[in-house]
Symmetry: C2
Subunit: 237 residues, 2 copies
């Protein structure tokens, strides 16, 4: 038995449709020793008999999976979030490959997020992540089955070398980061900030991306939120 001398990421499946994929994902996670499965708005019940049959010895993990209404809720306690994407996306976030990601998945508070079978993760999901992992495939047969992608990254976690210590302070949990982003938006709103609606949406997205990437610690988030409250109370010039 190999000793796993590192943390294990939470695995988050968003809007999974096919019970067989849910079962196969749970089975391969159990095969490789990953025990924290989270389902966001699943489109099939985790106790569907087809899912349970395919899960085989992973049925216990499937039964213990936690269900969340939103990705934010599933990520609330996480500090580092990786999104899987089939496409190259043009977001200002780091993109890595499975081999390089393996050791990163051992960091405490990590989550690995997989999208719906047909569409993959949408922009609203990707903007909540710190970085993206892309599994290279053949151009004429690009689409990897969901459970295969889960298995491959679980294997890369399991077979990775030790996780190097981080040179950065521990980021605040996702729930706190999201509260900061909401405070920023609300402060701008109250300040009377005006912009053409499309441009406004893009500007806020870019701002959120930049603020998330900063990896603010819990203390830094508290300081920033205090400053925003002070700004809101300040008399208008």
């Amino acid at each position: 038995v190999a000793e796993i001398d590192r943390g294990a990421p939470a695995v988050v499946l968003v809007e999974t449709s096919h019970p067989e994929n849910l079962g196969a994902a749970a089975r391969v996670l159990a095969n490789f020793g990953l025990g924290d499965l989270r389902l966001v708005a699943p489109q099939t019940a985790p106790d569907d008999p087809r899912a349970v049959a395919v899960a085989a010895a992973g049925a216990r993990l499937l039964a213990s999976a936690r269900v969340f209404p939103t990705l934010d809720a599933a990520l609330a306690d996480r500090t580092r979030v990786w999104a899987t994407t089939a496409l190259e996306r043009t977001l200002e976030k780091p993109v890595t490959g499975p081999r390089a990601l393996g050791p990163e998945l051992g960091r405490p508070g990590t989550a690995l997020v997989f999208g719906p079978e047909r569409t993959g993760l949408r922009y609203e999901h990707l903007e909540r992540c710190d970085g993206m992992v892309h599994i290279p495939t053949e151009p004429e047969c690009r689409a990897l089955n969901l459970a295969q992608a889960v298995g491959l990254l679980a294997w890369e976690w399991r077979s990775a070398g030790p996780t190097p210590p981080s040179r950065l302070p521990e980021p605040a949990p996702r729930a706190l980061q999201q509260e900061l982003l909401r405070d920023v938006d609300a402060t701008l709103e109250r300040s009377g900030w005006r912009m053409e609606p499309n441009l406004r949406v893009r500007t806020l997205r870019n701002l959120h991306t930049a603020l998330l990437r900063a990896g603010f610690t819990t203390n830094e988030v508290r300081t920033l939120r205090g400053l925003l409250r002070a700004l809101a109370r300040a008399p208008r010039a």
Copy 2:
């Protein structure tokens, strides 16, 4: 698109039972660019609609899969054969892991063999292989789904570094090696060699293992077979 600057192994599935596994294996092989799929005595038809549906964009590869009655027939043109095993076996053959196997799978004439879902490869299959690859899993959830094992090793082939040149001469194709083994057995038989039946079977197996491991070249096999014929013609002492 990543350039694959190495050979691609033939993938051999022995007595696969579940059409979904056949389809899922074809799909992930196509995803990762492996194009030589061989089926030994499949227990489900490769054109079963369930297999074709699960294969998705890998349906073309599934349709092009060649079917063989025996493992020997499927391996006839191969020179290097790796067997996947879930169990640690006590055979005098090298055992390796998926990561170390990746570059080896790029050697010309390589085959990678997967067993039936329920039993895995049996002794009669393993004795025909040069070495075994074992995918480590958790003790309480050991059994990896067939298509997951196929996907994992296809990925290790694809993501491996360049294959180092072999320091050994190119072995003869499997069909020739098997003819040599049959000649050895027949020569012993005709010589009046006697032994307690169980011991006889074990002795022949050990002899076959040793002869296969030698990696005789085509010329060496011819020389050895000529010597055996000369022995057979020699007058009894």
